[in-house]
C-alpha cells in the first residue's frame, strides 16, 4: 500500500488551531522517540512547535513503577506558540503508572488513549490502583479509548521473523501511528527515519513500519475513533528551519564561536545531568577543531578551561548547579587572571543533588555572588531553546572583548525543550576575531587596560611577552603581585567597573506591550514562553500589562531602571524563591512583587495569568 493512500480518510475532519499531545509510558517504552517523531513530522509539516520531555531520574527504574514513568509533551499549532502547553489535550498512557502520574494534566474532555493490555493486576498494583480505573467512573470526564496496543502490535508485526519481545518494542510506533491518524500527520518522514535508523536490521525496520501503519489504520477503521483533526500550517517567516533543543543550540553555538573566532575550541567538562548532552554533541565535531576534555571532576574541568584560555584558545566548560559550586574557586582565578572562559550552567532542581532531571532557576544568586571576595562575572540567560545559540555567541563576544569569565544560565527546561529555529546565514553572525598583542620593544604590561578596561590577551609562544598570572592580587598595569592596600581597592573597583561597563555594549531591554502601563511582568531565562503568552492573553482581555525579559543579568541593560519606573507595578515570576526579585528590589529600591514556583516544573501560562489578575486587582 502506498503512503498517500494511507492518508485518505473516510471520517469527518474537524479543524482546530492547536493541540498538545503527551506520550507517557515506562522509561523503556520509547516515549521520547515517539514524541520526537511527532515533533519532527509536525515541524516539517509547517506547524509551530514546542516540546517538553519529562525524564525519570533513574535510568531504569523498575518496569511499571511510578518512578519509571517517562513522558514527552508536544504542542503544535497553526499560530505562533511559546510553550509546550500548560496541560495536554490528548494523553497516550502505555501503562497504569503512566496514567496515574499524568492524567491530572489532561484537559477535561481530552482524548485518553490507554494500552489496555498493560492494565493487568500486577501493573495496577505497582501503580497503586486498588481497582482498574478503566472499569470504574474515575475517568469519565475524558474521552477514553481502550486500545489493546500490545496485542495489535504483535499481530501487525508477526511475519517479520522477530521474537515477541522485539516486536513489543515497536508498540510506541503503533501509538505514534494512531496519533498521526488523529491529527492528519504525514507518515513519510517517519518511514524514512525508520529506514535509515534500522538499515542494518531490516526485520526491525519492517516491524516498526508495520506497527506505525497498524496504528494509523486502527484509527481509520475502528469505530471508536469518530473524528480526526486538522491543524494547518502556521504562518511563520519564510526561511529554512530546523528543530533545536537548548543543549543542541549551546553546542552548535560553541562550535560556531570557534569558527567565527578562527580558533580551536576546548570544551572541558565533567558529565552532569542535564548538561551532558552538550558534551555528547561537541564530541562529534572533532573536524571543527574542537577538543572535548572529560576531566576527572568539575574543578579540573574549570581549571583545564582556564589553562586552555591562557594558552590562547576558546575555552568553555559546562555544568549544572552542584558543579557550579565546585567551579567557584577556579572561577575566582579566572576573574583574577582576567581570562575569557564561558561557563554554561544548565540549572536543575536543588539544593545538593536535588532534582537532577527537573528544571529550576535557583542558581542566579550563586552565579552572581557564589565566590569568595568581590568577584564579578558577566551573566547571560537565554530565553528560549534557540536563543541559547545567540547567547552562546554573545557569551564569547563579551568574554573576549572584556577578558572575563561569562556564566550562561540555561536550565533543564531550555536544555531539553525543543522549538523550530530559523537557521541563520553565516554572514549575519557576529565576527568574533580577537587580536593578540606582539612585542613592541617596550616592557610588556600584562595588566595594562584598553578603553573597555580589558587587559591584553598575550599568548604563550609570543616572543618577548612572557608574563606570569595567578590568584594573588595584581598591581594594575604591571601585573606583579601586590599587597598594597590602595592597589587592592583600586583593582576591586576596576574589576567591578569593567563588568559594569558591558552595559553600554548590550542591547536595551525591550518592552512588549504598553511602555508605561499598569503592570510590567519582568522575567529571565526559560520563563519567557509562559510569561509572553500570559501577557498576550491578558492584553487580549483588555488589561494594561506589558512584559520584558532580561537576557543580561550582569550587568543589567542600561535602560532597566527607566523601564521599571515607567510601570506602576512590577511582577517577577521565577522558578526560585525570588532571586531576581531580591536583586531588583535591592538595586532599584522598588516594591516589585515576586511569584515563585519551585516544583521542578515550568510555569503554566494560566498560573501567570491568574497572578496578573490578582496583582492588577490588589
Amino acid at each position: 500500500m502506498t503512503v498517500s493512500s494511507v492518508q485518505s480518510s473516510e471520517k469527518p475532519v474537524e479543524h482546530i488551531d492547536s493541540i498538545t499531545v503527551r506520550f507517557a509510558g515506562d522509561s523503556g517504552d520509547g516515549m521520547q522517540l515517539a514524541g520526537t517523531q511527532l515533533t519532527n513530522t509536525s515541524a516539517i509539516f509547517g506547524n509551530d512547535i514546542s516540546t517538553l520531555p519529562d525524564f525519570p531520574a533513574e535510568i531504569r527504574a523498575p518496569a511499571g513503577s511510578l518512578a519509571g514513568v517517562s513522558g514527552f509533551q508536544i504542542h503544535f499549532s497553526e499560530q505562533r506558540i511559546h510553550t509546550p502547553g500548560d496541560g495536554c489535550d490528548a494523553l497516550v498512557a502505555m501503562n497504569p503508572a503512566a496514567l496515574k502520574t499524568n492524567v491530572q494534566d489532561l484537559a477535561i474532555g481530552g482524548a485518553l488513549i490507554v494500552n489496555d493490555d498493560a492494565f493487568n493486576k500486577s501493573n495496577l498494583a505497582k501503580a497503586g490502583y486498588d481497582e482498574n480505573p478503566l472499569e470504574n467512573e474515575s475517568l469519565s470526564k475524558y474521552r477514553l479509548f481502550r486500545v489493546k496496543i500490545d496485542t495489535l502490535t504483535t499481530e501487525a508485526a508477526k511475519d517479520t521473523g522477530l521474537g515477541n519481545k522485539a516486536i513489543l518494542r515497536t508498540k510506541n510506533f503503533f501509538a505514534l501511528g494512531l496519533t498521526y491518524w488523529m491529527y492528519g500527520r504525514p507518515l513519510e518522514s517517519t518511514f524514512e527515519w525508520i529506514e535509515k535508523k534500522f538499515s542494518k536490521v531490516p526485520a526491525v525496520a519492517e516491524a516498526n513500519t508495520k506497527a506505525l501503519k497498524a496504528g494509523y489504520y486502527y484509527g481509520e477503521t475502528t469505530e471508536s475513533f469518530a473524528v480526526r483533526y486538522q491543524i494547518n500550517r502556521a504562518s511563520i517567516p519564510a526561511g529554512k528551519y530546523r528543530k533545536i533543543t537548548g543543549n543542541e543550540a549551546v553546542a552548535i553555538g560553541l562550535a560556531a564561536a570557534a569558527k567565527l573566532a578562527d580558533k580551536p575550541l576546548n570544551y572541558c567538562t565533567y558529565p552532569i545531568t542535564p548538561a551532558t548532552d552538550i558534551l555528547h554533541e561537541l564530541a562529534r565535531y572533532q573536524n571543527y577543531n574542537i577538543t572535548t576534555f572529560q576531566a576527572e571532576d568539575e574543578i579540573a574541568a574549570m581549571c583545564a578551561a582556564i589553562g586552555a584560555s591562557f594558552a590562547g584558545t576558546l575555552a568553555a566548560t559546562g555544568t549544572s548547579g552542584p558543579g557550579l559550586c565546585l567551579k567557584a574557586e577556579a572561577l575566582g582565578l579566572a576573574v583574577m587572571t582576567e581570562l575569557p572562559v564561558v561557563v554554561v550552567n544548565v540549572q536543575r532542581g536543588g539544593p545538593s543533588t536535588g532534582l537532577p532531571t527537573k528544571t529550576e532557576q535557583a542558581d542566579l544568586l550563586q552565579a552572581l555572588y557564589g565566590r569568595n571576595g568581590e568577584c564579578p562575572v558577566a551573566i547571560l540567560a537565554p530565553a528560549t531553546p534557540s536563543d541559547c545559540f545567540d547567547m552562546t555567541l554573545e557569551a564569547f563576544r563579551i568574554a573576549m572583548r572584556y577578558m572575563t569569565p561569562v556564566i550562561l544560565l540555561s536550565d533543564g527546561y531550555l536544555a531539553n525543550g525543543a522549538e523550530p529555529w530559523q537557521i541563520p546565514t553565516v554572514e549575519n553572525l557576529p565576527d568574533l576575531h580577537k587580536s593578540h598583542p606582539a612585542a613592541n620593544g617596550n616592557a610588556f604590561e600584562p595588566y595594562a587596560r584598553d578603553e573597555r578596561l580589558a587587559r591584553p590577551w598575550a599568548v604563550p609562544g609570543t616572543k618577548g611577552l612572557q608574563h606570569r598570572v595567578g590568584g594573588l592580587e595584581k598591581a594594575n598595569v604591571t601585573g606583579n603581585v601586590s599587597y598594597d592596600p590602595h592597589n587592592h581597592e583600586a583593582m576591586i573597583k576596576l574589576r567591578a567597573d569593567k563588568i559594569a561597563g558591558i552595559a553600554s555594549d548590550i542591547p536595551p531591554l525591550k518592552v512588549e506591550g504598553a511602555e508605561d502601563g499598569e503592570l510590567l511582568v519582568l522575567g529571565w531565562g526559560s520563563t519567557y514562553g509562559a510569561i509572553v503568552s500570559a501577557v498576550e492573553n491578558a492584553r487580549k482581555n483588555g488589561k494594561s500589562v506589558a512584559c520584558a525579559h532580561l537576557r543580561y543579568l550582569n550587568p543589567f541593560p542600561a535602560n532597566l531602571e527607566q523601564v521599571l519606573k515607567a510601570h506602576k507595578k512590577i511582577l517577577i515570576p521565577e522558578m526560585n524563591m525570588g532571586q531576581l526579585l531580591l536583586k531588583i528590589r535591592g538595586d532599584f529600591l522598588i516594591p516589585a512583587i515576586g511569584y515563585s514556583k519551585v516544583q521542578g516544573k515550568p510555569f503554566r501560562i494560566s498560573e501567570i495569568e491568574e497572578k496578573i489578575d490578582e496583582v492588577l486587582k490588589g
Partner: protein, 340 residues
C-alpha cells in the same frame, strides 16, 4: 617534547625573571631553581615556549622566578591547568611545580589523573614533609608521630609515598633526587625534560624553618652513602661508603646483603627502568630509611603515547576523513525544512 630551540643561547641566569626571590634564606628551593634554570639553558628552550604552572605553597612561588609564561594558580589544581594548556597547545613546554601538600593532599586527585593520562608535562614535587607556607603543620608525607603545631601530641596520620602513588597512577617516568646533590638533581631534570609524557620527579627539599634536616640522613656527607642508593639502569643495586653492600631479592622482598663471602654482584638485583611492569619500580619506592637505603635516580622510564598526542591524532584523522567542518554544514545539520 618538540619545542622550538632558541637560536640565541641564554645563560642560566638569563632565565631568571625580574622578580626578587622570596623564599627563606637557606631554603632548599633555591638550589632546585638554579638547577632548573641551568637545564633550560642547556636545552636551549625558547623562553616564549615555556610555561611554568604551580598551585599554592612555598614551592608554588616558582613560576614568578622564571622568565617564561606562568600560572601561579590555586591550591592543588596545577595539574588540571597544565593539562588544559597542553591540550590546547601541545607545542608548549610545560613544567609543573608542586609540593607534598599541594600535590598530594588538596590536589591528589588532579595529580593522579594528569599522571594517568600521561600528559607531556614535567612535574617537580618538592617534598619537605611539612606545610611551610602556613607555618608548619604535618603534611601527607610527614612521618607518623610527627609533632607540629597542628599535631602537638604527634601526628596520627599515616604518610604516603609520592613515588608509590605516581607508579600506582601508571606513571611513565618516575625519579627522585635531593636538593643538595645538585649534579644528580640536574641530571634527573635533564632526563625528565627529555621524557615524552608525564615526568614525575620527587625532590627531597629541606625546609630549614619548619622541618630542618628532615633528610639529613640522606644528604649528610657522613651518612648518605649508607642511607641512599643510586639507581642506574642495567646495573646492580650496590651502596655503602665502600660499595660493599647490595640489595638482593628474597622471594618478592628486597634484602640487604654484604658483598663477599660467596655473594657476588651477579646475585644482586639489577635495575631495569624500562621494565614494562611497574613491579620493580614500585618495590624500590617502598624502600625507606632506616630499614633500607632510599633509592635516588630514575625508577621507571617507559614509552607510552601521550594524552594530547592521541587526542590531536584523532582530530587530525577526523579532519582527514570528514574534511574541515564548515559553519554552514554545522548550522544546517539535522532535519531541516523550508517555509515559503
Amino acid at each position: 617534547m618538540a619545542v622550538e630551540i632558541e637560536v640565541k643561547q641564554f645563560t642560566a641566569k638569563e632565565y631568571a625573571s625580574d622578580q626578587d626571590v622570596r623564599w627563606c634564606p637557606g631554603c632548599g628551593d633555591y638550589s632546585i631553581l638554579s638547577q632548573v634554570k641551568k637545564v633550560l639553558a642547556d636545552l636551549k628552550i625558547a623562553k616564549q615556549n615555556l610555561v611554568f604552572v604551580s598551585g599554592i605553597g612555598c614551592s608554588s612561588r616558582f613560576p614568578y622566578y622564571i622568565d617564561s609564561y606562568g600560572v601561579h594558580s590555586i591550591h592543588g589544581r596545577a595539574p588540571a591547568i597544565a593539562t588544559g594548556i597542553k591540550i590546547a597547545r601541545p607545542d608548549l613546554d610545560v613544567w609543573l611545580v608542586t609540593g607534598d601538600g599541594d600535590g598530594l593532599s588538596i590536589g591528589g586527585n588532579h595529580l593522579l589523573h594528569a599522571i594517568r593520562r600521561n600528559v607531556d608535562i614535567n612535574i617537580l614535587l618538592f617534598n619537605n614533609r611539612i606545610y611551610g607556607l602556613t607555618k608548619g603543620q604535618y603534611s601527607p608525607t610527614s612521618e607518623l608521630g610527627k609533632k607540629t603545631k597542628s599535631s602537638p601530641g604527634g601526628s596520627v596520620d599515616f604518610p604516603l609515598q609520592p613515588l608509590s602513588v605516581a607508579i600506582g597512577a601508571e606513571a611513565t617516568f618516575v625519579a627522585r633526587a635531593h636538593d643538595v646533590n645538585i649534579k644528580h638533581l640536574g641530571s634527573m631534570l635533564h632526563r625528565a625534560a627529555a621524557h615524552m609524557g608525564t615526568s614525575f620527579v620527587e625532590i627531597y627539599q629541606n625546609c630549614n624553618i619548619f622541618n630542618d634536616k628532615a633528610f639529613a640522613y640522606a644528604t649528610g656527607k657522613e651518612t648518605r652513602d649508607d642511607t641512599s642508593i643510586v639507581l642506574e639502569h642495567g646495573r646492580p643495586l650496590i651502596f655503602g661508603k665502600n660499595r660493599d653492600k647490595g640489595i638482593r631479592l628474597n622471594g618478592l622482598a628486597p634484602e640487604i646483603v654484604e658483598l663477599g663471602n660467596g655473594i657476588k654482584e651477579d646475585d644482586l638485583l639489577f635495575h631495569d627502568e624500562k621494565a614494562p611492569q611497574p613491579t620493580l619500580a614500585y618495590m624500590l619506592s617502598r624502600m625507606y630509611h632506616p630499614q633500607f637505603p632510599e633509592p635516588i635516580g630514575v625508577f621507571r622510564a617507559i614509552e607510552k603515547p601521550t594524552y594530547e598526542g592521541l587526542l590531536h591524532e584523532q582530530i587530525k584523522h577526523t579532519i582527514e576523513t570528514k574534511g574541515v567542518g564548515s559553519l554552514d554544514t554545522l548550522l544546517n545539520s539535522g532535519d531541516t525544512w523550508v517555509v515559503n
